[in-house]
């Protein structure tokens, strides 16, 4: 019987970012229409809204498909995803004018100034966050759906 493990892996993978998206939309609405913050958020919304959930699903399919050969724990597999997401996201956001590179800091949304010295720690924090979310949340979903 075909139990469609890759379909279930995709659905388990997209659940977390799909749940986070409405929170981001609420934040966008509050900032834009209530607080009247005039930053071009909508220009860059395509990255988190359209690409990230799909990438999570595909990443989980890759783990299901490769786990028998690699035996890589799901937490470590998930921690590799920011290596793809953050440079890709940075490239897209700089194209849309969301991210500007200054002489001493990177500027997001023409408002948030992040010093370059903080970029590497932020990247390490992203790896740690992904490790924990994939190990405990996506791993739980995979177990619940009977694919891990």
């Amino acid at each position: 019987m075909n139990t469609h493990p890759y379909l279930r892996a995709f659905l388990a993978g997209i659940l977390v970012p799909t749940l986070v998206m409405p929170l981001m939309l609420i934040g966008f609405i509050v900032l834009r229409f209530w607080l009247q913050v005039s930053v071009p958020i909508e220009r860059g919304m395509v990255f988190p809204m359209a690409l990230v959930p799909g990438l999570w699903g595909i990443w989980n399919i890759l783990w299901i498909g490769s786990h028998a050969r690699t035996h890589l724990p799901i937490g470590l597999h998930g921690a590799l995803l920011p290596l793809l997401l953050m440079p890709g996201g940075a490239a897209i956001t700089s194209c849309f004018g969301i991210l500007a590179l200054g002489s001493h800091d990177a500027i997001w949304f023409q408002t948030l100034h992040i010093p370059y010295a903080l970029i590497l720690p932020m990247f390490m924090v992203a790896l740690a966050a992904y490790y924990l979310v994939w190990k405990y949340v996506v791993g739980f979903l995979n177990h619940t759906l009977g694919i891990a």
Partner: protein, 73 residues
């Protein structure tokens, strides 16, 4: 439907549905099920607690990074 037709129908049904064979499992599964139900949930290792604590500390120390994280992650 006469008796002959019934016999033919039985014959066709037996042909269409192969015998199930030995459907019972080879061993008693209930002890393994009880063991699994009684097992304590896996404890979270100290390393993961340390990572979670580090994330919280970083978010408190650099709150400006939170929107950037939410955007990319």
């Amino acid at each position: 439907m006469n008796a002959h037709d019934e016999e033919r129908m039985k014959h066709f049904l037996k042909q269409a549905l192969p015998p199930m064979g030995d459907a019972d499992p080879g061993r008693d599964l209930w002890p393994a099920m009880r063991q699994r139900l009684a097992a304590r949930p896996t404890a979270v290792p100290w390393f993961d607690w340390a990572l979670a604590g580090g994330l919280a500390v970083f978010a408190l120390a650099f709150p400006a990074s939170i929107p950037v994280f939410l955007y990319y992650l």
